[in-house]
Symmetry: D2
Subunit: 273 residues, 4 copies
């Protein structure tokens, strides 16, 4: 087969670094031969909520706990997240379960609040916020970079280059759906992007079927499809009470559904070997 390349890359590309990058967060390995499963609620809402979810997903086999504290919302009048309080609760759940935690950072001035957060997430809307990327390049924590919903692969990897060029090579990519004309889903999970990025780049790439589809019924099949396309892992929204969720309830699955999802995901991952 022929090699697929993007000329303008020089740090995220396989030519500069043929082997898969593997990023360690505590005992968890992201990239290479491992399957990473990140789960948790869209937003941290209360101590009871985050602790209960954390315990359940850990039992099901999740490796990392996710939970939003700073939520970039389309309208300034929508729920914006619990901010610093949300990060504290997330940290409580980390202590309780031992799971590493990931949360979205929206401005570098909040950096101090993220001292206990293991992986910093850059959301889709900030993918080309180059000033933020350059600042995150100066720290050494892993950065999970979500693809902008109308950006192509070259633009996506160029943003990874912004972080790496500033000194931080611990970049995890995440495909979270692109805008299309489909009315039945929020966005469209682009799995050929995953397969292509596995060829072009050595960085680990995850898929987020929850934000991509916005439909809870699709989270399972799109997780399996994502893994079959070559993703190093998945990031899914799990809520103990999806109908009462403060944000994105319609795309959240229950802990019971998550349990099945983990089992089937591992089976597909195994079948690929």
């Amino acid at each position: 087969m022929e090699e697929i390349m993007i000329e303008s890359l020089c740090r995220s590309d396989r030519k500069s670094h043929p082997n898969d990058t593997v990023i360690s967060v505590g005992d968890v390995k992201i990239g290479g031969k491992d399957l990473t499963i990140i789960a948790g609620p869209c937003s941290v809402e209360s101590e009871e909520q985050i602790i209960e979810i954390a315990k359940k997903i850990k039992k099901s086999g999740a490796n990392i706990l996710r939970g939003g504290a700073f939520k970039p919302r389309t309208s300034p009048y929508d729920f914006q997240g619990m901010a610093a309080d949300g990060l504290e609760l997330l940290n409580l759940a980390k202590k309780e379960t031992g799971l590493p935690i990931i949360s979205e950072i929206v401005g570098i001035r909040h950096l101090d609040l993220f001292s206990d957060v293991d992986i910093l997430q850059v959301g889709a809307r900030n993918m080309q916020n180059f000033e933020l990327l350059k600042e995150l390049g100066k720290i050494d924590k892993p950065i999970l970079l979500k693809r902008g919903f109308s950006n192509n692969i070259r633009e996506f990897l160029s943003c990874a280059e912004y972080i790496m060029n500033s000194g931080n090579e611990n970049v995890i990519l995440c495909e979270r759906g692109i805008r299309t004309f489909e009315e039945l889903t929020r966005n469209t999970l682009d799995l050929s992007a995953v397969a292509l990025i596995r060829e072009i780049s050595h960085l680990p790439i995850l898929v987020d079927p929850s934000h991509a589809t916005g439909v809870s019924n699709l989270v399972l099949p799109m997780s399996l499809a994502g893994i079959a396309s070559g993703a190093n892992g998945i990031m899914v929204e799990v809520h103990n009470n999806p109908k009462q969720a403060l944000s994105d309830g319609e795309q959240s699955i229950t802990p019971e559904e998550f349990d099945t999802l983990v089992e089937k995901s591992k089976k597909i991952f195994q079948a690929l070997k």
Copy 2:
């Protein structure tokens, strides 16, 4: 989980027909519990070419042979296919191997030429050629309907309704990629459409990773991802000499690559059960 529905459907929807439709073509079953593998060249080019490819894909485990004779091309100055001669050669390969055959029909006035063709294909550009759909609704051969590259699921299924409403219920759907802003692939295979259609409709749905991606390296991972998303089968382009192909050589895989693809596809299909 909640039911996903499209109001305006009344023949292709699961409400009207809860069980999976299974379409038989000779011994081959499309839909339900079977995995269908269609393979062959983009265009029939010569007797040697089509016979050689047919034999090889049969040996690898393909169920149906594909080959284009009428090629709808963007420019009138591009190769338009071998027309009637191409269909004759395709029929020769059918006799030689026993494989059922599928080929694209672009106008109802060609119908007589397709008497030996087992499945008639409607291409993406003709998906909303309602006059053609209505005519194909009057015959009883299976119709493989490809999704238009910028049409949504409601429009896609509404076209199946045009055929079914005219009397032909043997409709096979095929997701073949949608237009997006990605520059590294021809189109983007939309696998959440597959997962959604499996919920909304009882009709079988296949994926075509060759036309979707336009990149031979991506055919394997996107076939596996398509199956994992719930597709009832795949349709892939195989050429004995991709670099010399008269059309779409860059997306064709070799018979050897196809052999691996069939093996891995079956493994993933098995793992889903």
Copy 3:
């Protein structure tokens, strides 16, 4: 300024034909120094409706009457037009007012029914129905070719080439909006396509702000913008009772609004000289 070209064109391009093509329909000239205004209802609904609208738009200054008889609708269960009866009523209005008429043809087998129709329209969904285009290339009536809603300019002009290559050089192009992510309009009128086509091609090009926007309030500003971008004319939907229209009422303007539109359109066209 530099020349903009598309390599694969050889009949619709300015290199092969530097001067503007002017197409005559009775006394009306389309292309060159004239501004063409086509108006009428989306669908012919009754004798009273079409005659009343025809008289009013003529008085306001329209050059050509439009009216759909064969309507390609997304769902087979929607109103499909009055067919042959609709064309007869349209012809009555032509006799009554002297206005040339245009209507959409969806299959070549209907050609005989269109003997009194002055311009045959190919709709957006049939733009790449190459079999239809080739047949329309064998007659000598002007063909108004609408751009497919997700096709680019090269594909659009290549379809004009299909008609011209079969012998009919009387092709009028029509930009009618492309699919975008905007939720407040049906489609998005692409006026840089108009400006570009005026550079690349000698064929006349019109804009259809009614289908493009789907919003009656936008028909006036987008007509003016279309003319300012270089369009040779406009095609707008006018209905004597938009709220009761059988199709597309929400985008139709009243005869009174049309009167203002013609006046302002001429003013802008004049200001460009």
Copy 4:
């Protein structure tokens, strides 16, 4: 005609503020009955360059001088602008010509450097950088907010709400093209967005045909079309030597072409009254 509204707006909408907002910058008025013309190079490159262009565009009738000093580029390895030095040169040109100046701000920590800049621009990639918007809401300088290239009108106006909700009501909107499937232009200028925003919002809106099209030949027709669609003004790139420009030369027009553009723009604006 019926009123078009977006429910979630409460500061940028016409219901809350029926009359056009007019923003004054020195003697220049943006919005209402005036036509605003902003011109200048993509990037400030040298003292000679910016002074020469400033003098020429002033003579032609421009109201405001633009010039980029901080350039958000897709790749970290592309020219990133002259930064603080660029702003100093821009300020020199302001002193020399008396023209107010506008330049893009990419991070709030640069705010002090912009003390002499009259209008702060937020670029398309930062449109949904909500942290930046909230900070810009705390100052009282006019903010020119460019639309993200795949954002719809509701999202665009919601970002204006972020700024206004933080206290700064001096928001100027700018349509700069959306991503589409067209290969001959960089983006597609969306003029129905302009017409719609004039109905929905009281804020002034400009169009940027240079970035939208990326093709210098299209700057004139799309400026005229933009004005005809209802824009309160235009922002165009003018370079004294487009072929040598450090960024975006292919879309820049010469001072002579700009001279014609201003004259024709005023004629169209006049014809609309």
